[in-house]
């Protein structure tokens, strides 16, 4: 792929900054996003669309919670676990939150070591990230089966407003699906890094374009986004 018609310089200061830079970049009659690999720009645009999907879920959750005349179940009690002879509120959710943040940290480090072409450390960090993500999904499965056992269904539950189950399964289910897909791709990228695909520019599946370490950064963007969505779910669904 030839990049000959992209006139962004190597150093800063070659193009204007600030608002003038925005206008100059978009009006440059070339690709608008300078210094950004096309794969990364596409990942960002995908994440933007995903933002709208999750937001519509959360907004519909807000709507049903505002409009119901039945008491909304108290998440603090519903998600409490009986441990050490006492009910600890939200403990599993708190652990899941910390696990996801930790995995986000290891992912950020993986991207960094990827650009240093340190294959061993990058692979290790990617696998740690994937395992943390898998344990997150495992805890979510535990949480789901516990709630299903207690009689929570998409159409009703013993604690209060029937909409609780519908929104809970929809929102956390869709997030859990994102984490699961992320884990799968983390293992795929880890294998490619380990094999040295991004050092030699081996052609990948799907697009058959030459892979570079930008793919690790795009993977990172996706994974941080999953963490980001959880921040909002944690705040609006579990704490509110």
């Amino acid at each position: 792929m030839t990049e000959a018609n992209v006139t962004h310089g190597a150093g800063p200061g070659d193009r204007p900054d600030g608002l003038q830079g925005v206008v100059a970049d978009f009006a440059s009659d070339q690709r608008a996003f300078k210094n950004v690999h096309w794969g990364k720009a596409m990942m960002w645009i995908f994440l933007l669309s995903d933002t709208f999907i999750f937001s519509t879920f959360l907004v519909s959750y807000m709507t049903v919670r505002m409009s119901t005349v039945v008491e909304w179940p108290i998440p603090s009690d519903v998600f409490a676990l009986h441990m050490f002879g006492a009910d600890i509120p939200l403990i599993l959710i708190a652990i899941m939150t910390f696990i996801l943040i930790t995995s986000s940290g290891t992912m950020a480090l993986a991207v960094n070591f990827g650009y240093r072409q340190n294959r061993k450390v990058t692979t290790l960090l990617l696998i740690i990230t994937a395992l943390l993500g898998a344990s997150f999904v495992g805890m979510q499965v535990f949480e789901w089966s516990k709630l299903i056992h207690e009689g929570v269904r998409p159409w009703g539950n013993p604690f209060g407003a029937p909409q609780f189950g519908a929104t809970f399964f929809m929102i956390t289910g869709f997030h859990g699906l994102h984490v699961s897909v992320g884990v799968l791709f983390l293992f795929i990228v880890a294998r490619k890094v380990w094999r040295g695909d991004y050092d030699v520019g081996r052609r990948g599946f799907f697009t058959s374009r030459k892979g570079t370490y930008d793919i690790v950064e795009s993977m990172g963007l996706y994974w941080h986004f999953v963490d980001l969505v959880w921040v909002f779910i944690f705040a609006f669904f579990y704490l509110w």
Binding site: V59, F98, D214
Partner: protein, 109 residues
């Protein structure tokens, strides 16, 4: 090409943000443990949530180091969601009002 377009920063900043995210998560969990209620609870939840989201997008997703063209292209469109949120808040409030009027008070058919 990777070195020309990739994001490369010292490791220290990632560890700092990592620590901050841990602290902020612990603080938002404390809101529940300490059983704050009402506007204090809601405002604290929102503040910690926005701080965490901002740190993740800015540093982990490298937005502070990108050119403004992509920053605006990605971060401005979600503002439209505030309009949807406002509309649905009115809608939810009205539905709640009519349900109370007709179902709970039982004055309707």
């Amino acid at each position: 090409m990777a070195s020309a377009e990739g994001q490369q920063h010292p490791l220290g900043i990632y560890f700092k943000i990592w620590g901050l995210l841990f602290i902020l998560s612990a603080m938002s969990y404390m809101v529940d443990i300490l059983e704050f209620q009402g506007y204090l609870r809601w405002s604290l939840i929102i503040i910690f949530m926005m701080l965490k989201a901002g740190l993740i997008v800015a540093v982990f997703m490298h937005m502070v180091w990108e050119r403004l063209a992509i920053v605006y292209a990605i971060l401005v469109p979600p503002l439209a969601l505030l309009v949807l949120m406002a509309l649905m808040a009115f809608e939810g409030d009205y539905t709640n009002f009519t349900r109370f009027l007709y179902f709970v008070n039982g004055s309707g058919g």
